[in-house]
Each structure stands twice: as C-alpha cells, then as structure tokens.
C-alpha cells in the first residue's frame, strides 16, 4: 500500500531523513520507533505532504504522492493525526469533524452524514460534546477528536504521531483500545510512538530509526526482534 524508496528530507541545510526505504502492506500496523530527534515525525510529515522531500519516492497504492500538496494526499486516502493534535480553536467538535468531509470531495451529503454517524458511534464521548468547542475537551478527548476528524474521511492509511504524548498511563490504555478498534476494522496504520510497551501490542512490523536512517527492522511477534529494538533504543 505504501512504498517509500530512498527518501531524503532536508530542513534548510540539515539532512533529516537520509535515504529511508519502507513498505507497508494493506491492513498492517507498522511502528516507527526511535529516540527524540531521529526524524520519525519528519518522516510522517513528509508522507503527509507537510514537508517536501528532497529526494526519493513515496508511492501510495502504486501512485507517486511525493511532492503533492497535503490536501491532494489527504484526498487519496492518507489521513494524518499529528503529535500535538492541533484542534482548531473557535471550532466546535462537530465543525472540526465535518471539516474532514473534504477528504472525500465527491461524497454525497447522505454519505457524509453516515460517515459522521459511524464516527460518533465509535467515539460516543464526541457525540455527547458535539456542540462544545474542541479546545475545551480533555486531553484524551482531544486526541479522540484528532483521530475522529480524520476517520470521517475513512482514510485507507492512517499516520498517527505520538498518540500517547502527554496522556496519563490509564488514559493511554483507553487510547490504544481505540487504535485496536481501528486495526480490527482493517485500517492500515503507520504509528510513531515513544511508548514501546503499548505500541508493540498492536504493531505487526516495525523499524527503529537513528539519525534519519533505519537501523533495525523486525516483526512485533518475534521476541528476538523486540529485544533488539529495546536494546537499540535504550542505548
């Protein structure tokens, strides 16, 4: 579904992503791990179109998406939930959610309403607070909203960056229950996370990054690969 070949990304003269190769299959949950500042978030931002790559290729379902504007990438079915949630102030929960309709511009009003109803069914707390300003929600509810407004567009691939960032451990379990639900529904997920313990329960495969490169790749159900990952990140 997602094929990344020799991806290069720069911020000015800083070489952040230094030749990454990656393939994610449909229905897979793929983890990207590594310490702070190794380029994990930049990798997701590059796939989402927030940062233009300076080299290499990104193909989604066989079509090149590198260099496309972010809204065109979103309309191809790539949803992005960024690290800091980025809920729009001054917009209600429902306004935040209905913005997500634009990911599927040709969809009818009835189909949009049905998609919204499905999202409310998955996130009942958002339905209860639909008229409330998004920024007045609790942290976990804001994280739900950040995911839900992308899910309204029913993306084929979901990029999720540090979903547990700043959340209490008990709430993180709730959050991962939601991600498990998405996985069970067949959503393909590219997940960046510091919280290895929780994330590895839901990943099929993973990579570890160091200084913009992949230094390790493995399967989440292999104890050897997991040990190598923990060792790689702990060093």
């Amino acid at each position: 579904m997602l094929d990344i070949r020799n991806l290069q990304t720069h911020y000015g003269r800083s070489h952040i992503i230094q030749g990454i190769d990656l393939s994610v299959a449909a229905g897979e949950v793929f983890g990207i791990f590594g310490r702070n500042g190794v380029g994990k978030t930049t990798l997701l931002k590059t796939v989402a179109g927030w940062v233009k790559p300076t080299g290499g290729e990104i193909a989604f379902n066989g079509a090149r998406i590198d260099g496309l504007q972010p809204h065109r990438i979103a309309r191809q079915g790539v949803g992005f939930v960024p690290e800091d949630r980025r809920i729009f102030p001054g917009l209600t929960v429902e306004e935040n959610l209905t913005l997500g309709f634009l990911q599927v511009p040709g969809r009818t009003g009835a189909a949009n309403r049905a998609a919204l109803a499905r999202v409310y069914e998955r996130f009942p707390r958002l339905a209860e607070r639909s008229g409330q300003l998004g920024t007045t929600l609790s942290c976990v509810e804001q994280q739900m909203l950040a995911m839900a407004r992308v899910m309204v567009g029913e993306p084929k691939l979901l990029l999720i960056d540090e979903p547990s960032e700043g959340l209490a451990p008990m709430i993180v379990a709730d959050l991962y229950a939601i991600i498990a639900g998405l996985r069970a529904a067949g959503c393909t997920i590219l997940l960046v996370e510091q919280n290895l313990g929780e994330a590895l329960k839901f990943c099929d495969r993973f990579i570890a990054m160091e200084r913009g490169c992949v230094v390790l790749s493995g399967k989440a159900d292999s104890q050897g690969d997991r040990d190598a990952l923990i060792e790689s990140i702990a060093v």
Partner: protein, 297 residues
Amino acid sequence: MSEAAQYFQFVLAPQMLIGLVLGVAVILVALGLTIIFGLLDVINMSHGEFYALGAFVALALSTIGLPFWLLLLLVPLIMLPVGYIVERGLIQRVFHSGDRHVRTLLLTFGLGLVMEDAFRLVFGPNPHRPETPIAGGVEALGIFLPSYRLFLIIVGTAIIAAVAFVVYRTRLGAMVRAAAFDRDMAASLGVPVQHVYAGAFAFGVALAGLAGVLLAPIYSVFPTMGRDFILMAFTVVIVGGMGSITGVVVAGLLLTQIQAIVSLYISPVWSDPIVFGIMVVMLMVRPQGLFGRLGHG
C-alpha cells in the same frame, strides 16, 4: 420639550447619526482588510485602492446606462476574479519567503501606487460625484436623515451580519477559520488551502469594491479616495484586533462616534488626532487589539 431633549434632538443625535453612517462605511471597508489579515497574515496596503477600483468600475459602468442597483451586484462579482488573480499571481509569489510580512506589505503598497496612478490616467484627477440613487430624506423622532444614508445603514448592517454569518456559522466559514489557524492541519483534512487563501483575498477585495459602490454617492469618486479612507479602516482594524470581525464592528462604531462627539465638543480638527492617538495607545498597551484574531478562538 425640555432643553435637554431639544439639545439631544437637534445637536447630539444628528451628530451621532453622522458618526453612525461613517461607522458603517468604515466597517464595510475594514471588513475585507481584517479578513485578509486574519487569514493570510498579509497587511494589504492596496486595500484602499481596491475600494477605489470598485467605485471607478461602478462609475464607468454607470456611463453605459447600468443602474445603481445592478452595479451593487455586478461590481463585487467583477472584483472577485481580480482579487483571486492578485493573490495567486502576486501575493503567493512572495508569500513563502522568510520576510513575508515586509515583502507582502511593500508589494501591496506598490500595487496601490500603481492603481492610484492608473485611476488618475484613466479618469483624471478631479472628483466625480455619482447621482444619489435614493433622493429625499426621512424624519423620525424629529431627526432628519437623508434616505440614502438610511439605506446605507440598513444595507451596510445587513452586509456585516451576512459576512459574520458566513464566517462564523457556515462550513465554508469553518474551513476559512481552520485554514487561518493551522494551514497544514486544515490541508491534511482535505481543505484546498491555497484556493481558500485566494478565495478569502478575493472576498475581501469584493467587499472593498462593494463599499466603493455604496459610498461613492456620499464621498465622491477620485483617484486618492482609497488613501483617504484606508487610514481610518486600518485604525479600526488595529484597535479592534487585527483579523477580528467583531473587533472591526465594535471599534468601527466606537471610533467614529468618538470622532463625531469630539467634532462637536472640541473641534473637528482634533477628531483625527484623537482617534489615531487611541490607535497608538492601543498598540502600546494591548497590541492584539480589543478582540482576538480570526481563527484564533
């Protein structure tokens, strides 16, 4: 009738009405300015010239016999593609540079100068006074008001309410506010941000053009008309909070009433220095203005 009531009816109320007409006029011009700033973070120094362009286009079309009422619809529609092209063709070329604020400010300042000279070359330096579309006046509670000024207050209020409704109560408005606050996130939800930016700029320009048509019968049409009016519009936008529609309305009404009252009790000569002084004080003590920015909660 008591002396106080007579004073109110014959002295204070007419002066406040003059202030109200000016207030609505200034708000109409400032609305587009504040939307463009709130969304694009661009201080459009040519906004006054777009206001003048609307008036000149109306003037030109009226010479071929088009009625004023049709021009009220037609001129904003003509201004929309003009604004769209200016945003895509000029603003976007410097928008992504490091010193965006300075470059866009200088670019729009230069554009304004070019437009002003073009008006002078095409229409001449002298003022043109379009015929007042509604003659006569009305008297309510003993206060006389020319009919066209009453029309301006009503139509202006309706336009301001419609703009606020679109921005704050529609999905299109939510899209604009989202793009104003977080361009990248809005884009990742499928919002075509570049077109939203160009559309909002065009909308602001169309509003300026509409203000030009509406105000021409009162303030006349001449090449520097934009420069004269835009100073007050900028003051209103700064005092109200750059990018805030509520701020524009509140500051527009407040400052023009202050001007009117100062003219009555001190001297008309002092009305501008006092209003601009309020802007300076506001920039010193509360630079964000009375209200926040569009899309910033």
